[in-house]
Assembly symmetry: D2
Homo-oligomer: 401 residues x 4
């Protein structure tokens, strides 16, 4: 007998749970891709993508995943041999750096480990040391999906400005957009990338790149920009197909239009952020309780450096893998695996897991996942403090008191 039969809950940090309305919007015949409704809908989507990033600048849609969006940003910002400064706070920051290196970009990486955010003082120091202004762009993840560290983007901009360095500020918001507060214009971001399958609640298949006027200007003549990745024809398309360098991603556009309407016109972006913040606090309250006198440990000690979209945790002695297995097998909840949390070369001992609270997620889904985890900790006799789920419920109760 298993208690998993019922609606499964996928709590991995992407792809996230999609609203029924989004899936429904995608269940339709193909449209004409030369004229008609898809053209109008695309214009709306592009406008809404700017709104969701609080950006007044430009945005390009790529048929790709997040790695493709990385490549698009790199291809436009750099020519071969140009230099990037990468601030890494987890596996995905490191991978972005490797991706840039793989394209012929010279990369200087500051690795802040996997449990603390990027330090603006070190960024400032690195830029000051770049007396020849060879660094074309600073690359940083807003939230590293692997470590769940959230970086202070406004502080990075301030550090760049303090030096008066001309480098572009490029931010990976794949894990955070429409979950953690993000302000493209206010924070002085030049390039931001995201993808469809997390806070935007659409299946994997689209990458997005927002581009400031400064970045548009800086990207002219980049010799890495191939016809597919070159953002200029996409940003300033004269014919419809140029938005996508060919055939449009018709069904993803229908889904995305629906999800953006839900986020922006129905719930409202500040409410979306507040919801994610409350659910995240509930998760942390449970994790803190379980951490009293047991193996359970939040990965990020400082709450201010934690994402509202995903939380990484450690349960020693392989407890994380055991718990993941129990939750999926017995209770219908799939938690995320640990990713890049051990030293390179070290064996993965199954000590890390992640729980996502991103996108189409409410009190019921999150509390249910936590209650299942608490049941699993007991069932597996993993040492843990008591009262986790009660503490989480109390956090959410307090939001409406």
């Amino acid at each position: 007998m298993s208690l998993a039969h019922g609606r499964p809950y996928l709590a991995i940090p992407g792809p996230s749970t999609m609203p029924d309305r989004v899936l429904r919007a995608m269940h339709r015949a193909a449209p004409n891709i030369y004229e008609g409704e898809i053209v109008d809908l695309t214009a709306t989507v592009l406008a809404d993508l700017r709104r969701v990033a609080l950006s007044s600048s430009h945005v390009a849609i790529y048929i790709s995943n997040g790695h493709g969006a990385w490549e698009a940003a790199i291809a436009n910002m750099f020519s071969k041999g140009d230099k990037a400064l990468v601030l890494a706070t987890g596996r995905f920051g490191i991978s972005w750096a490797e991706h840039a290196r793989g394209m012929g970009v010279e990369v200087e990486m500051i690795d802040f480990g996997r449990r603390t955010p990027a330090d603006p003082a070190r960024l400032e120091a690195a830029l000051r040391a770049d007396t020849e202004r060879r660094i074309k762009a600073v690359l940083v993840t807003h939230v590293d999906t692997a470590s769940s560290v959230r970086n202070d983007i406004a502080a990075m901009r301030a550090a760049i400005d303090a030096v008066g360095h001309p480098a572009l500020l490029a931010v990976d918001c794949i894990a955070s957009l429409a979950c953690d507060e993000f302000r493209f214009d206010d924070w002085g971001v030049d390039v931001m990338i995201a993808a469809s399958q997390k806070g935007l609640m659409v299946p994997p298949g689209l990458g997005f790149v927002w581009v400031s006027d400064k970045a548009v200007a800086a990207s002219k003549g980049s010799d890495l920009a191939t016809p597919y990745w070159n953002w200029h024809p996409r940003l300033f398309a004269e014919a419809y197909y140029q938005h996508f360098a060919g055939t449009a991603p018709t069904h993803h556009l229908y889904g995305l239009a629906e999800s953006l309407k839900m986020l922006l016109d129905e719930e409202g972006l500040p409410q979306v952020w507040a919801r994610h913040a409350a659910l995240a606090r509930a998760v942390w309250a449970a994790f803190d309780a379980w951490g009293q006198g047991g193996e359970f440990r939040l990965n990020i000690l400082d709450p201010a450096a934690r994402s509202n979209a995903v939380t990484a945790a450690r349960i020693g002695n392989g407890g994380a893998d055991q718990l993941r297995g129990w939750c999926e097998r017995e209770a219908g909840v799939t938690l995320g695996i640990g990713l890049g949390m051990t030293e390179p070369g070290a064996p993965d001992a199954g000590d890390y897991l992640r729980v996502a609270h991103m996108g189409h997620v409410n009190a019921h889904m999150t509390l249910g996942a936590l209650a299942v985890m608490e049941a699993g900790l007991q069932a597996l006799s993993i040492p843990h403090g008591r009262g986790g789920i009660a503490a989480a419920a109390a956090v959410l109760a307090a939001t409406t008191k």
Copy 2:
């Protein structure tokens, strides 16, 4: 800000949560209704309906809701002026009696109230008193959806047999089928009715009537059996359309075929029952904890008389309505209203609610609903004992320890 944005959870006792696979099976073009796959699929559905009731006899599908299935059973079992004995343990038992009266059947009702099951001794006494053998059938709900009382059907059969009374035993399993254990053959049931939208996990729109050979024989010549309700052509159809007295309910059949496959061939009926039993015990554990020193109270004191599909509870001072409102508005959980729990004529004070745990429901969904309720009790400052959700999690943990 509301924490309800996300996948809503409907915890009312029907319609229940439907599996995605069922909805997907229904999202298709209409078939030919004269020949081909729908004919074969109907044969499979009819066989599986017998399996889900552990019945070796006959079954008719009606395009109707549960009230239609009531009417179908009455129309075939009785002629005008015949007598029925109804054992009522809640609003739905009483309504079935009223329905029979409305069709010209003379009804004797034994009302066991709303918090205790039918007493076989009283049934036996009533049958002994029927020396003229005027009672054609005994009508009883297996589970009354309103009160959540579960009756002991085998005991009812034993009472009838003890008297040697020829009355048919007719059971309403609308709320219980595929949730609470039910054995048509073993328990000597003659007529059983159910509907599509609860344990069978399909949208409302189909009623079912299972019929023993004895009931088939007894029903010949009933003058209430109209062409639509008459079960003979449906049970012994020579042409396909006779199964439905006309056009087949094509899309519901596709959905039902899928849900029966999930229940019978994938999970297995004993496992389905065990899952519902475990989830019910978790609900009761939470309710018991909240009931220590507060307003919260389980409606049925005796666990043996509680359904595994739905649980009714009382929170005085209008607390039930307040809690229902909070859960839906703030957390995405819709609980069931109280139904028929106050004295006739008395105003509904909003003191009752019901939580369903029927059908496509797992540990995540149920624990999530309980955790939301606990958060709501706190948010609303409704006096309640602590530790409800922790107790529920512990119950489920124990099932796999």
Copy 3:
């Protein structure tokens, strides 16, 4: 090799092709059935059902098929022993009469055969002969789905009025509603029935009964009206569940709301009628051409007596069955079987077929079906006149010239 692989086209007279939007509207989680959106949506649906019948009176929704709607109308209009006058022009008119007889109604039937409409003079004569005014209602099909005869409803009303007979006029529009012009108020109809799966473009599962004030008054005290069929609580519901005598048909309501919006608010009822009329003329043009010098023959000679929703035809020597088989097997088109077109007791020689042009059907679908039929006639070497599909195309070309 078969040329059927592709989107199959079902050209049987119900269930008809459903719009993707309707199926999409039905692909969703269950709603709360006690309050909220489903309650509002039902009010809209009821209003739109009146609009689609051009009726200012009342309408009841039954979870049933068309036969259930027949039974609902009979149960309310008659008490046991009351008399009905049925005007039969095909299998379905005869069946409705048999249904009434099966409920204890005395039936006088005038059978006009299978190729000509009801004659108002004979109706008038029959009513004049009813000097005791025993006839409670005149029952007539607007379009008989089997024969494709269309009756002149206004003429029937005139005949009744000419006699000054108090009988209700009850019309079966199952095959015609939202295809052939129908005017409940203007034509003095008292009771009209329809079902979901034809012109209304929703899966089978709902029956509808429209009721004039006169019929409401006349139906009070009918002793055939059981709790399920009684239209009074449905027409004048105080609580939501009374509209459906129990649980609402949630998913069908979502689908129906969408289809009514398409018919009434987007295309517009006069345009819907005109479209069906044009497509019907195209079908007849093809059939007329094939009928020159071959086996092919339209069932109804008088175009004024043909339905715009379905056309029956004869191809002797079993040609109809052969053609149906070829079209389905080789070309992806399923035509309707002949129904009730042979004398009772005579063997079905496979000489009849029907092609539907009802509901969600456009020039492409209809011309495609005709072209496939023409290909099939050739492939099977069935003698037929040439130029059928060209004639059909010419008819449609002329509509926009």
Copy 4:
């Protein structure tokens, strides 16, 4: 009044009509992307992609459109400054050449115009002239979607072999795969590209590249191969995510698995080709008839050089645009626009259109489209020969005679 209300038919050459089953397979919750069913399903999809190309070699899936697949092939086959020989027979061949130039590849193009296929003699001559063996690959479209020319791939291979030139043979089958016969192994193809939205019947969003062992070897060390386009990790993935350079295109994979099952396991590839061939002949028969004495003209004179997937035609005096408008507005059929059929710089006079007969397409759909076109020609008084649709029907009738 418009006769377009009904199921619209999109006859543009991609995206094509998708089977309901494919859309249904994509209407589901996201899966875990680290383990479980999606991993197994991907293995099946990769095997089936080899089967559909009759290829025993390797295949990579890219989240991209067809232009992305072009770029992937170029990025792996060439280093900057390498030379390509492009055989152009329409707009898409020319665009592929431009794409290669845009990536820094030196391109020699032989332009065969828009109405005739590539001449193997000219290919052979060009290769003989390349005495330094600078040409790394010969690029050719199997079917150019714009002109509907089909090239003889086996003849191209023979020409290369006749010279003994080491160049790779790279073929664009975006428009032809699973429509026109294609044999990767037998025809000695080294690189083949396709996309999801045409013969493979899945929404736009996936590009595919098949790679021979020779091409794998030749591609090692290409300096254009970025991390996203590099096919080595995709072809020889050790971890699941490497197949996609990151997050998998989960929903497209579900759809693709379903469509490949339909093509390969249910219908069978030879039957799929035969069906497309028959439908194409029907289209040509109609076009030939209309071309007798009017403006209508097939673009490709030689039937052996026509694609079975799409047919381009010319109607002078802007007739093509007028007809497209009528068919969409009045009859529910959307035809494809002419693309790249006029001289560069010349104004588009609206003289060209294309009708697709690719993918999920049967006799009903194709004959329906032709019949609608015939009606439109008449309605618009465009001079044309008679009997087009009758001729098309006769072609299809003959296939089963």
